[in-house]
Amino acid sequence: MHRLRQFIDRAGWPRIIIGLVLLSLFLVAPHWGVRIDASLMDTIIRFGMNGVMVLAMIPMVQAGCGLNFGLPLGIIAGLLGATLSIELGLVGVAGFAGAIGIAIPLACLFGWGYGVLLNHVKGDEMMIATYVGFSSVSFMSIMWMVLPYHNPTMIWGYSGQGLRTTVSVDGFWAKILDNLLAIHIGPNFMFPTGTILFFALMAWLMWAFFHTKTGTAMTAVGSNPDYARASGISVDRMRTTSVILSTVYGAIGILLYEQSYGFISLYNGPFFMALPAVAAVLIGGASVNKANITNVVIGTILFQGILTMAPSVINAAIHSDAAEVVRLIVSNGMIVYALTRATRKSR
């Protein structure tokens, strides 16, 4: 009994409840003819696709800048990397590496500007971040039309200019990591080893960063900026660094997502990426000023698991084709739930 109580205290009720819901979805799935192995594969792949974007939440939370609602800015850097890599005709590993290579400096540049902006609005970071996300997406919606891209796989066929809303990465670097060292078990299950390894690498880098001098200083800035300042830390510089790091992770995260998904979603695509990432890290047990890698892993598995399972089970149960509607209800419901759980640990 005592150990149970301890476990509940450590895990927290929200995670236990969502975990039990997810488990029961898996248990009832076969009853309506939903294959467990296929669902499990979907969950794992979705975890790998989204994981790095959820990791992107950690630096800003730790530095006291709050949740990165401005993630679309990093995603735009990733999209620019992806489209430029295709424009240059890079294929395969070179294409994916090229996309990352182009995206990182752009993300650093965007992140720097974003960080400087956030340093001017201390206390209201999350509100401003949301609008940074909105306005950058709107601005890029114009840019995708007017930027001089020429590669015929990406531009509108009829006018010959402007990028399409979705660009296929087939023939460039689709599934490049999903298929790397992939393990096939039976006809319906495949483990995307490359994607998961890549996530693990990014998570390890994040972990390692927070074990360096700079990472320690960043955590201290988030924990108590006055203490950090009295220890000779430049609070603004640490905050800017955290925003740059978060933006770079957002950029790499979207590339990982795209290679698995097979398409690049331009225009309003980035809009819909920030909230699930925010929700996942909150469901994982992070607060507005403390987050770690465990929060990310648990939160992403729970969030993406529910998101995969709920629509398919419900659809099968009520014999309808409302998958998209159910998915939206579940996804936004989880986001609302997570945001109500957003706590600020008191000093």
């Binding site: 924990s223 220890s231 000779g232």
Partner: protein, 538 residues
């Protein structure tokens, strides 16, 4: 006057905060038309006594008080300030409680507006009554006039000079006809000398109308000027109640500051006046809110424990905060012959100075982080201690093992009570938190250590341990220490020389062996216009 029943009588008032006794058997009487001066050092219990009188919720929440309060011979016990207001007690606080966007009239009659019925109130009830502005204006004018000042009732508070705000606040209290006892907490602190004079004249005039006044200030001259009687509090007890014409400023200062010097505490053999100068401060100004430093110069010698004392708000706290770069500052600070770049904490730390802040929770600690981080962080960031270079120094990896080791050493050396190095700082008691702050400062192995209010808010036993740790660090490592404290006795027990700060300037530097009277006189600014009298025993 003494034969009639006193208007206000407080009898045997005793109050504890969490087992810490702050008032012991305090009794006082107040007659109609009398002005009573209440004096005492910071923490002597003045504010607590007045909070009890005013029924402040902090008193009820912490378990009430023992003793009785009578008004006009009837026993009263206020549960909240509204009860006190109804009974005719008014209070003017040190901080203004006025609405800046309202006019003087609106502020004076706030919640006491003159109202008229109109057609709408018949339908929707009394909340929609009309204000009688001309009548309100007249009342406000009358009560301002009573104070003998000229303030237009239509001026917005936001546009008033500070002095006028103080008068507006006073006018708000006195406009009520039931007003009997008026409590003024440091009303002249923000006023210029001429404004203060006008205020004192108004108070005399008010007293003549039969209102009794309790006047709290640390400017003793004002007390002597207008009060009939003086009650001196020290450590929660009434040490003396005396008629003004029977005393002088020196006696009051001495009674206020305290015990005659305890010679056993003064044993400072380590200090030698011939030692070289470590720190030279010239014309330092610091813009620290509430603790402005105007023009401070002093020198600190090697191996010395230099004390800085003075009353709250006079600027003593601004000195270390300014030198350590935490507040906007100017002037010259020279350490070991090299000027220190001000307004840059990193530069101050790099010059081998360290600072234990008076704001333990706000600046001193990472409350949510474990003890090892708290203790090692500054040394890690400033001096690259506890770091392992990886990839040829490209990456500076935190050496958690070394951090825990040094933390355990400090926990043992300073007797920090905790469950281990992983315990978050917020779970420790105040005294142990203070020791963590000391460990953090010791960790950078400073040549010069600033310690600000090291014993504030911690219990007596922990106080002794903290002071002992400082003294030992000073004698074992030869570290020069500058200690800022509100508690004069504490400074006298440990320091080699003590500077007293008054109104942002050094009022004088004394030896700890100087008499309480000398310290008291410096603290209340009695000698500030006579520079030649500034004494230096050291």
């Amino acid at each position: 006057m003494t034969q009639q029943q006193p208007l206000l009588k407080m009898q045997g008032i005793t109050k504890e905060y969490f087992g810490n006794r702050v008032l012991t058997d305090v009794s006082l009487d107040l007659n109609r038309g009398e002005v009573l001066g209440l004096v005492g050092e910071n923490g002597a219990g003045k504010s607590t006594l007045m909070n009890i009188l005013f029924g402040m919720s902090v008193i009820v929440q912490t378990g009430g008080y023992a003793g009785k309060v009578f008004i006009d011979g009837k026993e009263v016990s206020f549960q909240n300030p509204f009860d006190a207001l109804k009974a005719g007690i008014g209070m003017v606080h040190q901080e203004f409680s006025l609405i800046p966007g309202f006019t003087a009239t609106e502020n004076i009659l706030l919640n006491g507006e003159i109202l008229h019925d109109n057609i709408v109130t018949k339908l929707f009830g009394p909340r929609l009554k009309t204000l009688d502005l001309p009548e309100m204006r007249a009342i406000a004018e009358k009560s301002i006039e009573l104070l003998g000042v000229e303030i237009s009732p239509d001026t917005l508070v936001a546009e008033m000079p500070v002095g006028h705000r103080q008068f507006t606040e006073l006018a708000r209290e006195i406009h009520r006809p039931e007003m009997k006892v008026l409590v003024l907490d440091e009303p002249t602190a923000v006023l210029t000398e001429s404004e203060a004079e006008v205020l004192l004249t108004s108070l005399r005039r008010l007293a003549a109308t039969g209102i009794a006044i309790i006047f709290i200030t640390h400017r003793l001259q004002e007390i002597l000027d207008i009060c009939d009687r003086i009650v001196i509090l020290r450590d929660g007890q009434v040490v003396k109640e005396i008629a003004t014409h029977d005393t002088d400023i020196g006696q009051v200062a001495e009674l206020m500051v305290g015990r005659s010097v305890d010679t056993k505490a003064i044993a400072t053999a380590t200090y030698d006046t011939q030692q070289e100068t470590v720190l030279a401060v010239e014309h330092l100004w610091v813009d620290m809110p509430g603790e402005t430093v105007r023009d401070v110069s002093f020198e600190v010698h090697k191996g010395e424990i230099f004390g800085i004392g003075g009353l709250a708000g006079q600027g003593k706290l601004g000195i270390p905060n300014g030198i350590m770069g935490l507040c906007p500052a100017g002037g010259t600070v020279i350490l070991h012959g090299k000027p220190i770049h001000l307004e840059d904490p990193a530069a101050a730390l790099a010059a081998s100075m360290a600072f234990v802040s008076e704001d333990r929770r706000g600046v001193g600690l990472l409350m949510e982080e474990p003890l090892d981080w708290n203790i090692a962080f500054t040394a890690m960031q400033v001096q690259n201690k506890f770091l392992r270079p990886l990839l040829g120094g490209l990456i500076k990896w935190r050496d958690d093992r070394a951090i825990r080791k040094v933390t355990r050493e400090y926990i043992e050396a300073l007797e920090i009570k905790c469950t281990g190095v992983e315990q978050p700082a917020q779970e420790l008691s105040g005294g142990n938190q203070q020791k963590v702050c000391l460990a953090k400062a010791f960790g950078v192995e400073p040549n010069l250590l600033f310690v600000s209010e090291p014993t504030r808010g911690i219990d007596v036993g922990a106080k002794a341990l903290v002071l002992k740790a400082l003294r030992r660090y000073n004698s074992e490592n030869g570290t020069t220490i500058v200690m800022v404290s509100s508690e004069l006795e504490e400074l006298r027990s440990i320091c080699d020389r003590i500077a007293i700060i008054d109104e942002g300037r050094v009022a004088g530097i004394l030896s700890p062996a100087a008499t309480a009277k000398e310290f008291g006189m410096l603290m209340i600014g009695k000698l500030k216009n006579t520079d030649d009298k500034v004494v230096s025993h050291a």
